[in-house]
Symmetry: D2
Subunit: 309 residues, 4 copies
């Protein structure tokens, strides 16, 4: 196996020179201000080592990657009852499509498109005020990372709220079918805040370790989720983690991953590594362009693929 300590810096250097970096998301104004030259990568191995390169300690907006953590919490709360309100199929449509909701009577296709993640957030609001629900999500991520300096970027949250008309449309639409139990305003308040959590690639890689460890937190040895649930979350990441580019990511990279429009991707090699990459420019499917390429190259060099013998 190639030596990660050599591979990652070389990869970061190669990425630094590329000029085809994609476009930084501008529909959330705060995200549009990020320097597209940033690139960071971090790999947390199951043996405890963490290897990084580039801007791996600079915090960025994790955006939709937060949907992994909210899904984990919601499954902990209501278990498989969640699947009565959210599907488990790839959507075949962009991340914020509303068409599918009309045809399928308000049941979102999966928990990683916006509509599905809003329902997941609605679950987390049960018996909670929005402030408490936000706090629960943040503390869960801090716990996974063992780092209580992680915070929510309230400027980003406010920026999303001010321009998030399509998410308001989705929430109201599901409410009209009875698949939202709180006011759209409340569910989206929590949703915009958890999307605005800021983490570095290093922190994100650490937070994902329970998924590469069969559900265990390797720092403590305690179970975060059951081994079966960890596998199932990974299956959802593989089939639905990159919106309408999920099939291509599985084809090229061959590992479960979840992207965010902030330019981050969390990738999991079961039993081997949790890794996070960050490059703010996006490809045509709204996934980090260089991040996807870097993970593809890294997986190839390290021979990391869930489809390999």
């Amino acid at each position: 196996m190639a030596d990660l300590e050599e591979v990652l810096p070389a990869l970061a250097a190669e990425m630094a020179e590329r000029s085809d970096r994609g476009e930084v998301a501008t529909y959330i104004p705060q995200l549009g201000k990020i320097d597209p030259k940033r690139f960071g990568i971090a790999v947390a191995l199951t043996d405890g080592r963490v290897v990084t390169a580039g801007d791996a300690d600079e915090a960025f907006s994790i955006q939709s990657i937060s949907k992994i953590f909210t899904l984990t919490l919601a499954l902990g709360k209501v278990g498989d009852a969640l699947w009565r309100r959210v599907g488990r199929e790839p959507s075949g449509n962009p991340f914020n499509s509303i068409v599918q909701l009309e045809r399928e009577l308000g049941i979102p296709r999966n928990p990683f498109i916006n509509a599905g993640a809003i329902v997941v957030t609605d679950v987390l609001l049960a018996d909670h005020q929005p402030r408490e629900a936000i706090g629960e999500i943040l503390r869960f991520i801090q716990f996974l990372t063992d780092d209580d300096t992680i915070i929510i970027d309230r400027d980003v949250a406010a920026s999303e709220r001010a321009t998030g008309f399509r998410n308001f449309a989705l929430a109201n639409y599901m409410r009209s079918f009875g698949n939202l139990t709180h006011e759209p305003e409340m569910a989206l308040g929590v949703y915009f805040h958890h999307c605005a959590i800021a983490m570095s690639a290093r922190q994100l890689a650490l937070a994902g370790r329970f998924l590469s460890h069969g559900g265990l937190n390797p720092a403590t040895g305690h179970s975060v989720v059951s081994a079966e649930r960890a596998r199932r979350i990974l299956a959802l990441m593989l089939t639905c983690g990159h919106y309408d580019g999920s099939g291509d990511f599985a084809f090229r990279v061959g590992i479960p991953g979840k992207s965010g429009v902030g330019g981050g991707i969390l990738g999991i090699v079961p039993g081997v590594a949790s890794m996070a990459v960050w490059s703010p420019g996006l490809n045509e499917n709204g996934n980090s362009k260089l991040g996807s390429i870097a993970l593809e190259k890294l997986a190839k060099i390290m021979n990391w693929s869930i489809f390999a013998p």
Copy 2:
């Protein structure tokens, strides 16, 4: 690891007793005549052993499972140029949907829905008469299985042809966009014949070994496809192999698979096993009902999941 020699017979016995067997496909009249009580399973391990139970030596119509073999052949012929004519994303629609083709200008979502498989078949017709293309596909499967008794059930092929109006619609529709280079009649002639190949679960498990072996034919040690191509075919099977139930199969079973409306499923555990199951009754997504359940139980008992550490 549990002992397959004990597990499979017990599984077959359990399945024999279930009354919720789904509905046998009737839109192809020949398939509607099959006894829904049939159940067979076969596992070809990478160590060379083949374990079976139930009706594992009875031939059934492999139908869409043939799409794995035609895809493999087409990639051998034109390589990645294939992807200019077929996508690699889950469709989010039933297997024979035409809606997506209108929106995406005649480019099918992936090679495992009918429209995509028809384009793949069109590729195999280059420089060939239909009869030659059919022969090439059949010989490839005979070669993989090392069994030249495998045949095409011409009654099934004729039955599909007589009622395959929707496939004629798909073919003509793609032809209108220039994404079919032969007459619909010709491409579908080949398509209906390769779907009508009849194999037993044992034969099918043997035919899939190259995918569990990193592209090698374990009987000969020779390469069928490169290791990378084997991984990529598996990725497509995972994300697209069960039509609009692909996400659910990945979630429940956790391995790449490909189903056919004849009631067969081929499942691959990389580095471990190629397995085939057959039970003619289908669930609401058109996938074998008991076959899916049996694979889920088997994967759980054997701890076979590509998402496990």
Copy 3:
């Protein structure tokens, strides 16, 4: 020509006996309380006579019929510039569909589906507070009817507001495309109020006279809109006035009409009559069931059709 004074009472009597009255709309709770046995009809002839039968003086919620009056006002404000924000084509979809908006980038198909009427309302908010815009619409209807006792039923408006999640979805969705210039909350506040205007069949028939009179208010002889604009509003009523049942209404009744889920329909025979019918039970397209039948019968008896020589 048959004598209306005899025809209308006979028609009302016939309708009173029918048991197939459709279903009263229940998604707006206040509307669900209406007695389905109600039936009223009023015809305002261009010679000044008004003939009525049944519950013609009982006020009901005009709902979407108000969209004729807001469209008229908006065209007066911005003229043909309105058509940059709203189309003029039948939608081929139910009244509250959001699918078409995604495909056509936030431009509603026509001003009579909900999304289009919300944009029209947005136009009326320019330089106005919501309260002023509501007042302007109400006064316009009072002016057309020459009856300042017409009011808004605030219970109905509040009821719609509390359950109007789908309209909030539509408004937010269009806002995300920049096709709403005010906050959804504001535009919908006005929208829910003008839908909640309560009028009797007699009042409604009087309010529609300018459309049967080539744009003139027959009571005063003054122009409300130009003759060309009157014709064009009638063309929109014919092609789009009954949602996804517009073609059928044109086919059966043969005159321009506009329905509301309160059970009212306004129908116009150019040069001859403005007529209003009310029966609260709706057919499967959300249009008054007996109202449609009564207009079809009346048009046949009186030989009123814009398609007749």
Copy 4:
């Protein structure tokens, strides 16, 4: 009333000078060869006069205008039973869309989109060989025009057949739902031939007279269809006669019309005139660009609108 003898030549002269003539349809190769400079117009008044200007005696391919005549024949054969197989609503989609058919299980929206017209043609095949059905349609048009020199342009028919993959898709698709009783090949054989009928504007205006005359053939005084059926065909023309531009045509021109991709439009002013215009260049909806404009101007000058008092 303005004098048509002066109006038409002036209109033809004005149209001759315009350079914005749209694009000639090229998807049927034979049609692509037509000179876009052609313009002809003919008006057959109910008083028996026929006024023409421009290339009014040059034959062109009537294409979809033939759907009026096949609909009339099919209603004569099966009456209202036709509406169990074809809808009466505007489609909200382009003329050859297949999306709606999937959602509505093979029932086309109306008889004027391609799918609907193919079903209508299927009706005409009952108890007939294709050759006989084609003959019946041609003779009906010859009878209406009192001109047996009208022929089918077999080069155009062959050209459509060779490139009509999308129509083959529609036909096969409806066949899969059981809404086509003959082989697609047969129904389309007849369809392509009746679309290829060649007529001059003068002939077409004469053929449409029964629709402006309440169903009577003014040349003979005999009934072609009942007055009610004539009105209903006109209603369908108004709501569905210009595909996805039907609403706009009703809004601008204000009379029932039916267009064809050969550049012809037949327009009817009930009780007044049947008129035909021809200009081969099409607008973005596939309707004659200058033809639409000419009819709009003519209707305005003559004050011809079914929405006028």
